[in-house]
């Protein structure tokens, strides 16, 4: 159930065109997906194809003494084996810096690092062959403590500190009369997209390769693959295969280079599909974080200063750790007016699993810290936690701790009030089903054992990339007459559809701008069009939407020019009203169909957003394009004796600028909240001395439908200046403050500090005094 508030939408012209900007258009690939006919990357098949399988290191850190592939090559059905020595071009890859080996050569630096890959006739043959490869390892002592990593001997030539940055804002020596301090920890979450890493590589006659793969950014994959294959980029062609979810886990290269190497080596198509347990080793995870905060405030509750130190563990390779720590630090204090700040962040290298992008990207971890602090401060001030947040909420024309002036829509108070205004759920019915209580099917609780808590959290996040990155998206648009004369718009854009629904928005945008009902999306690839950038950072609506809108506007004026030529008048005397072009003075009209009859129209547009700046040595600079704000209120039932819990309801207010597709926005909100709840109470990659202990869905628990609460959502539409349609991104905010709200509710229910996510049953039960029925230590 979603309600909307904010400024109204423009009046509709009576063209009869449905499914435009603002409508809940159904997605064009939906029917195919429900019939099981949508081709995901693991569904691909080609005659004579081979199967690939990766050999991974069982050690966390080790020297590789030797690799002997001969026993494996001798096995029936084995066609090729590749390893580090076979990489033709650049031996490393990486999103920010290519610091990660395609295959480990002298040393492995994390549990599961790829060492070799096999191509064979049958997946079972490939699997058996991979196991038959003899690798001599000399295990090393792993570096697994992120704090120690800062000054430990380097485990990589680039050193152990990926990035250290400091924000000094205002008077870093300022103090307040009321001071609260706390240490917080967030564990390692996994994106756990359901579609496993998979793809099909086909060697081409020109000596290049065609790769069909599920990914978030085709062109950046292509560039890394080409570099490692030693091929020019135009001979490495990527086609987007159906993507079964991403959430940041597909931004980094996983199997792409391995697969292309096997295809080129064997001269045959090669398919590879990671198993679920392999998937846990095959992609980056969310950075675990340790945070310390100290908040200063006046007795009236105005924030004076925030101090923080945040350390994120990037694991063995860089990935996007530099950007993640930047976010964590920039958004460290949350969406509040902070006159003075001293915030320090470290992203470090360890032998733990590599970490990188996951929905929320540093702002999630920080939110657990800053929202716990706001509750602590509220308690110290004897103030209502919501009141404290409202009092300090950012407004337009405030400055962030980076010094950046907020010039866009900043409806922080609105989202807070919206979340708070939803009715609370009824108290549990004592005669209701036991399944509805904490413990679920395990039937462990009776109503008398359950306490209910309510918690609140607010968050902010940037849209798109930052610190001077020249982000852009490219779109090609062609308008032509169909066989029946009716106009068709053909969109060619490399935007990775990962489930978020950009394919739907693309159609809505063209209909909105041009009034053309039939909009066809060509397949996304690197061949026909330039980069659309990554499907991440909540940026595609703005960037790819912007590129497409720009293309539409361009062709719209070309349609007007055609009409003006025909009428032999000035273009200024004609307007486009989406049913066609009207000659104002005479009322003459030419339809889009008429205007396309002589010849199609085509354009390719590259859309850039306004430039952002780097952060200086004090962490000051206009580093971000725009910001999103959201608030969440969680109601959680807790059985403190057992530490089991159930999230009953999440209410939220989210700042979206403009809901281009309200149903899809609701889907993003609910889906993001599910992931936020997951991190709060059940999802963690358990790593001991660098070893992943739970690489399966048996022990890495995702929320099921029985774990999902009711969601009441209010969408705030205050148009963002400069954004296409005034629309902000919507994907990340629901994942950011939903989890901290759940923790706040658990604190409310139990009186326990609960400083770590995910909360484990023992975190509650073992400090709960059964005799007194409350926390045995506050």
């Amino acid at each position: 159930m979603t309600s909307r508030s904010g400024t109204g939408v423009a009046d509709r012209v009576t063209s009869g065109i449905r499914d435009r900007v603002g409508d809940s258009t159904t997605r064009p690939d939906g029917a195919q997906k429900t019939r099981g006919e949508f081709a995901f990357s693991s569904d691909l098949w080609m005659d004579a194809m081979l199967w690939g399988k990766t050999l991974r290191s069982p050690h966390v850190a080790a020297r590789i003494r030797s690799i002997d592939t001969s026993p494996a090559l001798a096995m029936p059905g084995v066609r090729a084996i590749v390893s580090a020595a076979d990489v033709p071009g650049r031996p490393t890859f990486g999103l920010e810096t290519p610091d990660q080996p395609v295959f480990a050569s002298e040393v492995v630096r994390y549990h599961g690092e790829p060492v070799a890959a096999v191509a064979a006739d049958h997946p079972e043959a490939a699997r058996a062959a991979a196991l038959a490869i003899v690798v001599e390892y000399e295990p090393l002592d792993p570096l697994v403590d992120p704090e120690a990593a800062i000054s430990a001997p380097p485990i990589h030539p680039d050193g152990n500190v990926f990035r250290h940055l400091v924000i000094r804002h205002g008077d870093t020596g300022a103090t307040g009369d009321v001071v609260v301090e706390g240490a917080y920890e967030v564990g390692m979450q996994d994106q756990a997209f359901l579609g496993p890493e998979s793809g099909l590589a086909v060697p081409a006659e020109d000596g290049g390769v065609d790769l069909y793969v599920a990914t978030q950014w085709l062109h950046v994959d292509r560039d890394q693959i080409a570099a490692s294959l030693g091929l020019p980029v135009d001979r490495v062609r990527l086609y987007l295969a159906g993507v079964g979810g991403a959430f940041g886990g597909r931004e980094d290269v996983s199997l792409q280079i391995h697969l292309c190497m096997l295809a080129l080596r064997t001269g045959r198509p090669v398919k590879m599909v990671y198993s679920r347990d392999e998937s846990f080793f095959g992609h980056v995870h969310r950075h675990p974080a340790r945070m310390w905060y100290r908040h200063h405030a006046t007795r009236d509750g105005d924030l004076v200063k925030v101090e923080a130190r945040i350390v994120i563990d990037g694991g063995a390779y860089l990935s996007s750790s530099n950007a993640v720590i930047s976010n964590a630090v920039c958004f460290g204090p949350g969406p509040y007016r902070i006159p003075n700040a001293l915030i320090e962040g470290y992203a470090v290298r360890t032998n733990n699993p590599p970490c990188g992008a996951m929905r929320g990207f540093g702002a999630v971890q920080a939110c657990y810290g800053h929202e716990a602090q706001m509750d602590k401060l509220a308690a110290a001030l004897a103030m209502d936690p919501v009141e404290l947040r409202l009092r300090n909420a950012l407004e337009r024309y405030d400055r962030l701790v980076t010094g950046q002036l907020l010039t866009g829509a900043v409806p922080v108070r609105e989202v807070i009030r919206a979340a708070a205004s939803h009715p609370l759920p009824p108290t549990p019915d004592p005669a209701g089903p036991m399944m509805a209580l904490p413990g679920g099917a395990g039937a462990t609780a009776d109503p008398a054992h359950v306490r209910r808590g309510v918690g609140f959290a607010v968050s902010m996040k940037n849209i798109a990339y930052s610190e001077g990155f020249d982000d852009f998206a490219t779109a090609r648009l062609r308008l032509e007459a169909g066989v029946d004369g009716e106009p068709i718009a053909v969109v060619t854009i490399a935007t990775a559809e990962v489930g978020q629904g950009f394919v739907t928005l693309a159609q809505q945008i063209v209909r909105e701008e041009l009034g053309i009902d039939r909009v066809v999306l060509g397949p996304a690839s690197t061949v026909d069009v330039g980069s659309a950038g990554s499907s991440s950072a909540s940026r595609q609506t703005w960037m790819s939407g912007g590129a497409l809108q720009l293309s539409c506007v361009t062709l719209r004026s070309e349609l007007v020019m055609r009409a003006a030529e025909l009428w032999e008048c000035a273009t200024a005397q004609c307007i486009f009203d989406e049913v066609g072009v009207v000659r104002v003075a005479t009322g003459e009209r030419l339809s889009v169909q008429d205007l396309l009859a002589p010849a199609p129209l085509e354009t390719e547009q590259e859309y850039h957003h306004r430039p952002t700046k780097a952060l200086d040595a004090d962490g000051q600079g206009d580093a971000h394009l725009s910001f999103m704000f959201a608030a969440h209120r969680a109601v959680v039932d807790v059985d403190p004796e057992l530490g089991l819990l159930r999230v009953v309801q999440i209410a939220t207010g989210q700042d979206v600028g403009k809901a281009i597709n309200p149903v899809q926005v609701t889907g993003q909100i609910e889906g993001g909240i599910a992931q936020g709840i997951g991190l709060a109470v059940m999802e963690e990659i358990v790593v001991t001395e660098g070893k992943v202990r739970n690489p399966s869905f048996t022990d890495y628990l995702l929320p099921t439908i029985l774990d999902m609460p009711d969601v009441l959502a209010t969408v705030i539409e205050e148009p963002e200046p400069g954004a296409p349609y005034g629309a902000k991104g919507v994907g990340e905010p629901p994942t950011i403050s939903s989890g901290p709200a759940v923790l706040a509710a658990i604190r409310d229910a139990t009186g326990l500090p609960v400083t770590r996510a995910p909360v484990r049953p023992e975190d509650i039960a073992l400090v709960w005094d059964q005799g007194t029925g409350k926390a045995s230590r506050a």
């Binding site: 029917a31 019939r35 006919e37 693991s42 359901l194 009902d517 889907g667 909100i669 599910a674 869905f697």
Partner: protein, 211 residues
């Protein structure tokens, strides 16, 4: 005589059974009955699951491979009318049974009311979990058309979705229950698995299908 309880087994398994059950088969060549069609499986290997055979040998990749250990439900199929994970069925153990996959629910381009409700409510994002949900929801509403919300949630508790947060999926189920209850013909899905068209098959073209 003490009462003897015979656990009811779907009798649909009886009607299409071969004249004599084979006591032994070779793992590399056998027949399976899928969506009402007899399919021959050749050059197979004993350890292949039904999911693998459907996807990689029989050209039916609709059932998905998100975990292959029974923890996600993306491979849900009907085996003799009962919903199971195809990744946990050894393909040879499905000999003589009626297998129905998501592809068998409708004829070619049609969609059932459940399928179209899932799309309309926003219950499909990446779509990887969708076939599993489609099969599970069809079976649930056939067995228990008036299931309340808790029963619906329990019946779908074996189907993971990572994109939607389940809210839109639940709404789709509610919508279907409501419109089926209101339908004057009062049809229900018979669940007969021989490739028959299911209830409410309607054609949904759409403007601008993804090429």
């Amino acid at each position: 005589m003490p009462p003897e309880g015979e656990v009811p087994v779907d009798t649909a398994g009886e009607t299409g059974a071969p004249a004599e059950s084979p006591a032994y088969v070779q793992a590399d060549r056998y027949e399976l009955e899928v969506n009402g069609t007899r399919e021959t499986v050749e050059d197979a290997w004993l350890g292949e699951t039904l999911l693998f055979v459907l996807r990689e040998r029989l050209g039916l990749p609709g059932s998905k491979n998100a975990c292959e250990q029974g923890e996600c439900g993306s491979c849900s199929v009907l085996l003799d009318g009962v919903v199971v994970c195809a990744c946990l069925v050894l393909a040879v153990d499905a000999i003589g049974s009626h297998i129905q996959t998501v592809e068998g629910l409708t004829a070619s381009a049609d969609v059932t009311d459940i399928q179209s409700a899932l799309v309309a409510s926003g219950g499909v994002q990446c779509g990887f979990c969708t076939p599993g949900f489609v099969v599970a929801v069809h079976e649930l509403l056939r067995r228990s058309p008036d299931a309340d919300e808790m029963e619906v949630r329990e019946a779908l508790s074996g189907n993971l979705c990572r994109c939607t947060g389940y809210g839109r999926i639940l709404e789709a189920v509610r919508d279907v229950q409501r419109s089926r209850a209101q339908s004057s013909t009062g049809q229900t899905l018979s669940g007969r698995p021989f490739g028959e068209q299911s209830f409410g098959a309607q054609s949904f073209g759409g403007s601008g299908d993804v090429a």
